[in-house]
């Protein structure tokens, strides 16, 4: 895990090294400063020697300036390094996802991927900045202050050896007790958020069933748990500041007592005594800060694991070895194809598929929900690799093609389709980047989209909002078809892509296909019989197998399933001819 993450430091190695370096210098200076200050008191003020006061004062001001500079520099480089680290994390993850196959993508939920790319990265960025700066600063401060304390007065310094384990042990105990409770709190938080979210989304259901009180009780139970757990965790954390204070106070008292004795016997100066107090507070504060960072870093560990999961996921599909970059024609052949999403033989969703589709043919596919229609056509542009058998496109195995070439010629309009924020033209140009306005309008005419686009005030420059929220379902489907048509593909697959389009427009689209792109192989998955009944051949799918295949008239005679579907829709399609 660490190796994968540290690879993301990349070009920010220099900054990642400079930050701790400068912070070490800063600490060194900060430790020198109290010593020089006690010198001012002992030799300058005590002895009323203004030269020393001014002289050392100027040296001190210079050192303070230098320390300020080092501190600022370490802050700067820590910011550069951590922001850069976060940038690289995002970049690598996003790139990985782009290289994922459909199988890879299915392993992660979309919301899971989004969280990793956003919140989790933010946590790691924070943790990284702390590690290269404060996590270096604290131990350095501890070490330097302790050595200086020894240098100034070794007897008093012994006190620290008493206090440091006391405070350190106490802090570790508190952190280790509080941390598991906080983990629990976060889980309960998620539950609370879920209840709120479900109520926001399902408010109509809540109100329709008059379940406001029921939901309120549910919410109060969770919020009560949060109260209990959070209070428990914070009650433990509340020991932190008294622990810190009492350590400090004990230190002061011991230093005062021992120091007083030493001063009386002239083995120590007053300035040194004040210096020791400063060291004491520096040592204890650095321990305190360290324990806080420790907890933060532990919390971000879960984020690190989640990110590492994405970075470690190897794309399981690559270009074929032969890397064929030309698709000869639009013929498709399935030979003894078996397919399961998991790759395991016990859960085949496609079984023993044998099918030859000629270039230019129009094929309809029909079947109930879950009959694996979509699974079948997804194999043609090699969105998934089959478990056994062969899929040939243009006479060559799909696995031998260059993926880009294959998918360039096989246009697929997905069932769950997306438009992206941008103008209509921007979206359509996904099909062909260099498309002229004429080409775009032509494709839209074929898809029967031009008509409604012309009614928009800004026509093709109309801005589509994220997820295509500002166009209707039927309009969105027609835009998606136009986008696919712009690719001028040899094979066009429509996966239930006109379900929200009215039957009249649907028939116009099919007519346009037949007239304008006769040489393109067209595969149409549909719920409605009317969408496929004019196809050259119709394939009836049932439970992952091809149950029947033939023309509309043949199937009406031979296929029970087809006839049942036909009957269930018969009323609607009467007179469509």
């Amino acid at each position: 895990m660490l190796k994968r993450l540290s690879a993301c430091i990349g070009e920010y190695k220099k900054a990642s090294l400079l930050a701790p370096l400068f912070v070490t210098c800063e600490v060194l200076l900060e430790v020198l400063i109290p010593w020089l200050m006690s010198y001012i008191i002992d030799h300058g003020i005590e002895k009323s020697d203004m030269n020393i006061v001014i002289g050392i004062g100027i040296v001190l001001l210079f050192l303070v300036g230098l320390s300020m500079f080092c501190g600022a520099m370490s802050g700067k480089y820590a910011a550069i390094a951590s922001s850069g680290f976060a940038k690289n994390l995002r970049k690598r993850m996003f790139y990985s996802v782009q290289d994922f196959s459909f199988t890879n993508i299915n392993k992660f939920s979309t919301s899971g991927l989004v969280t990793r790319l956003t919140t989790d990265v933010a946590y790691l960025q924070m943790a990284y900045q702390m590690i290269i700066r404060i996590a270096v600063r604290c131990p350095a401060m501890l070490a330097f202050s302790l050595s200086m304390a020894f240098f100034v007065n070794s007897q008093i310094a012994l006190i620290f050896f008493l206090i440091v384990p006391f405070l350190g042990g106490g802090l570790i105990l508190i952190a280790s007790k509080a941390h598991p409770i906080f983990e629990k709190v976060f889980k309960t938080y998620d539950r609370l958020n879920r209840v709120v979210q479900e109520n926001l989304r399902g408010i109509r259901v809540v109100k329709a069933f008059v379940r406001e009180d029921f939901e309120e009780k549910k919410f109060k139970t969770v919020s009560g748990e949060i109260y209990d757990q959070f209070s428990a965790a914070e009650r433990i954390l509340a020991f932190n500041s008294p622990l810190m204070q009492s350590s400090m106070y004990i230190c002061m008292l011991l230093i005062a007592w021992v120091g007083a004795n030493l001063i009386i016997s002239s083995r120590m100066t007053q300035g040194e005594l004040i210096g020791m107090i400063t060291y004491a507070s520096q040592i204890l504060m650095s321990l305190m800060n360290f324990s806080m960072i420790f907890v933060m870093v532990i919390i971000s560990r879960a984020s690190a694991e989640r990110i590492s999961e994405v970075l470690g996921e190897a794309p399981d599909m690559s270009d074929g070895e032969k890397n064929i970059s030309f698709v000869k024609d639009g013929s498709i052949e399935f030979k003894n194809v078996y397919f399961s999403y998991s790759g395991k033989p016990d859960s085949y969703c496609l079984k023993n598929i044998n099918l030859l589709i000629h270039s230019g043919e129009t094929i309809g596919i029909i079947g109930g929900t879950g009959s694996a229609k979509t699974s079948l056509v997804q194999l043609i542009p090699r969105l998934y690799d089959i478990t056994s058998g062969q899929v040939l496109v243009g006479g060559e195995n799909v696995c031998d093609y260059n993926l880009k070439a294959l998918r360039g010629e096989v246009a697929m309009v997905l069932q769950k389709n997306e438009l992206f924020s941008g103008t209509i033209s921007d979206n359509l140009r996904w099909g062909k980047e260099t498309a002229t306005d004429e080409e775009i309008i032509h494709a839209c005419r074929l898809a029967q989209a031009d008509e409604f686009i012309q009614t928009f005030p800004k026509k093709y420059d109309t801005f589509i909002e994220q997820g295509g929220k500002n166009v209707s379902g039927g309009q969105k489907q027609r835009l998606c078809i136009a986008r696919a048509l712009l690719k001028k593909p040899k094979i066009l697959i429509l996966d239930d892509s006109t379900s929200a389009v009215d039957t009249h427009t649907d028939s116009l689209i099919r007519k346009a296909f037949a007239e304008e792109i006769p040489d393109t192989t067209k595969i149409i998955i549909a719920q409605r019989i009317s969408s496929v009944q004019n196809a050259d051949r119709i394939i009836v799918m049932e439970n992952g197998e091809i149950s029947d295949c033939g023309t509309h008239d043949e199937l009406l005679k031979t296929s029970t399933i087809y006839r049942e579907i036909y009957d269930s829709q018969q009323r609607e399609v009467v007179g469509d001819e």
Partner: protein, 632 residues
């Protein structure tokens, strides 16, 4: 320790004073004594802290100096002083511990109260609120805003208060010791404040830019991860990578600059403390040599110590002030939600269980299967009307916004037990009618009567309890299948749940689930197909056994073959009830008693299937398949 704070767009509160007052009101109302105790303990602990920081100086000046001067070796006064100090320190530590603990109690208690208030108000808001406000925005009030508030109450407020007390007592100590040296300290503190204000001001510009580009990056990530499969089908990976790089680089630039400024603030503030120390030593020394009255070595040494106790709380406070302002902005958003106007309900007609004794309708305490409307009148008398499911819409006009009427002059008569169908294209106003029947929205003009009673007089919750709804967007809750179906009627027995599931034809697939009826559904029923979710929603409505049902595209995601099977269940579900059906598949509604064809908020045709066909109008066209309305 927040997991939700990072994505928050910060803003300033509009009315700091009012919000603070209200927040304190929350605190004071239930925790008066706690609060008084906290104030007391903070004072003790702060004073102990100030005393503590001056202790070494006292030791030197009051005990060591005389001993050195006289050569005495008598440590008794010092020992006594140390013993006194132990007492003060102990009081300080115990006070600190106590006020921390009490603040946790207060803070968490106030937060729970605020959360509960927020949710309970939210439940009572009209549906229009949820339709017009982004869910993410409402959500963030429960997460980000409450979280910043928690930090403020448990840490911000007590720390600021204790800093303030420390500052005041140190200032008094300084002024009484030496006014000229105090001026030096105050000058440097002024300088520190100016510098920190400058840096914070500059960094806030970058922080706003950072939030903006963070929003942009998150939006881009969300959109393209959701559409990842489309990206792959169009081989757009490389282009997307390039676009992402641009956004990512911009984000990196803004984060870097925002963080640089934030990061250099601490070392500058810390070292300014040292600068002050040195300047104090130098100016104090000069003053002592020039013989300024009242300046002695002891005084200078005392001041050096005091100045440290002075700058520390000031820099702490300046940090706290920022987080308090953030928290107040959050509190303001929370109060905004709590102040939203709840759904108005002036209805007084109630739904009660009833039984028919001697031809007269009487209220019953148990479930009888017969319901009645309990109608209290102005003269104190009460009449009972049997719930039949007779629904009447008379000349109804409605618009979601006053300036745009979406329903014009709608009149619908539904006799008990009738099946009324609404057909028409998207935007014709079908769903709007169901919104009016449930009073999710209130009509602008006209009347809606339910068993002869104006529905404005019926208590909303009772009105809704009498209506069973199956909506197109079926919403399921996290919980078992059993719990989800039982949502329709909480006291339904297991057998009743099974029966309802069988009726909806959901029993078959439920039994195929890994744990049958005990399978836990998560994330709004993900893992189930849209069709399966619709079947569960139908079962849920079936178990509630209402006299009137509204089915809004209830079977739209079920394929036609399965729908035929469900149809049987649906038919038995609809039997004897008044039903409103909205569907775009005409096969679903053919057997309705009355079919209303809607177009642009008006009913353009009405009649039975046969009557409408004979009319050869819009319905005839629809039926003949030349035009099937688009669904949205």
């Amino acid at each position: 320790m927040s997991r939700h704070g990072s994505m928050h767009i910060s803003r300033r509160p509009k009315n700091t004073g009012k919000t603070l007052k209200r927040l304190l009101g929350y605190t004071f109302r239930d925790y008066k004594f706690h609060f008084a105790a906290v104030v007391l303990f903070i004072v003790i602990s702060s004073v102990a802290g100030v005393k503590g920081s001056m202790f070494i100086q006292t030791v030197i000046d009051d005990y060591l100096a005389p001993m050195l001067a006289t050569g005495s070796r008598d440590f008794t006064p010092l020992i006594n002083a140390i013993l006194v100090m132990i007492g003060i320190y102990a009081a300080g530590v115990i006070s600190a511990f106590l006020y921390n603990r009490i603040m946790i109690l207060v803070g968490q208690g106030v937060l729970k109260q605020i959360r509960d208030d927020m949710f309970s108000v939210m439940q009572k808001l009209p549906v229009s609120y949820f339709d017009t406000h982004s869910h993410g925005d409402t959500m963030s009030r429960y997460t980000n805003d409450t979280d910043t508030l928690r930090q403020m109450i448990t840490q911000g407020v007590p720390q600021t208060f204790s800093s303030l007390i420390t500052i005041i007592s140190v200032l008094i100590a300084m002024l009484t010791t030496s006014i000229p040296l105090s001026i030096v300290v105050l000058l440097v503190v002024g300088l520190i404040l100016i510098i920190s204000k400058n840096i914070t001001g500059k960094s806030s510009k970058f922080f706003i830019d950072q939030q903006k580009s963070l929003g942009r990056a998150n939006g881009f990530i969300e959109e393209h991860i959701n559409g990842q499969k489309v990206v792959k089908v169009f081989c757009h990976e490389e282009k997307i990578k390039a676009e992402f790089d641009e956004i990512n680089d911009e984000l990196c630039y803004n984060t870097t600059h925002a963080n640089i400024l934030a990061n250099i603030l601490m070392p500058i503030m810390g070292n300014m403390g040292h600068v002050q120390y040195v300047l104090l030593a130098m100016s104090g020394g000069l003053m002592a040599i020039w013989g300024v009255p009242g300046i002695t070595v002891g005084v200078i040494a005392a001041f050096l110590q005091l100045s440290k106790s002075f700058t520390m709380p000031i820099s702490q406070m300046s940090q706290q002030v920022n987080s308090i302002i953030m928290a107040l902005a959050g509190a303001e958003r929370i109060f905004e939600l709590i102040d939203e106007k709840p759904e108005e309900d002036s209805g007084y007609v109630k739904l009660v269980n009833a039984k028919l004794t001697d031809g007269e309708l009487k209220e019953a305490s148990e479930r009888t299967g017969v319901w009645a409307w309990k109608h209290p009148h102005g003269d104190g008398s009460i009449t009972y009307t049997k719930l039949e499911g007779d629904i009447l819409l008379e000349n109804v006009d409605f618009g979601y916004v006053p300036e745009k009427t979406v329903l014009h002059d709608i009149s619908i008569f539904a006799k008990p037990g009738q099946k009324i169908a609404l057909v028409g294209a998207t935007g014709a106003g079908k769903t709007t009618i169901t919104n009016l029947l449930t009073r999710f929205y209130d009509i602008a003009d006209g009347k809606v009567r339910y068993d002869g009673i104006n529905i404005n007089k019926i208590k909303k919750s009772d009105l809704r309890a009498s209506l069973g709804m199956v909506l197109q967007d079926t919403h399921l809750f996290t919980g078992t299948v059993m719990e989800n179906i039982r949502y329709g009627r909480l006291d339904a027995s297991d057998e009743e749940v099974f029966a309802a599931a069988k009726l909806a034809n959901a029993d078959g697939f439920i039994k195929m689930l890994p744990e049958g009826y005990n399978t836990i559904l998560r994330g709004s029923g993900s893992g189930l197909s849209q069709g399966q979710r619709q079947l569960l929603a139908i079962a849920r409505a079936a178990v509630s056994d209402p006299p009137v049902m509204i089915l809004d595209e209830a079977t739209s995601s079920i394929d036609t073959r399965t729908e035929r099977i469900v149809q049987k269940g649906m038919d038995s579900l609809m039997k004897g009830r008044t039903v409103f059906v909205i569907a775009h598949r005409l096969s679903t509604i053919q057997n309705s008693d009355v079919i209303m064809v809607m177009d642009q908020g008006r009913i353009i045709e009405r009649g039975s299937h046969e009557e409408l066909l004979a009319k050869k109008g819009k319905y005839y066209q629809l039926y003949n398949g030349s035009f099937e309305p688009e669904e949205s």
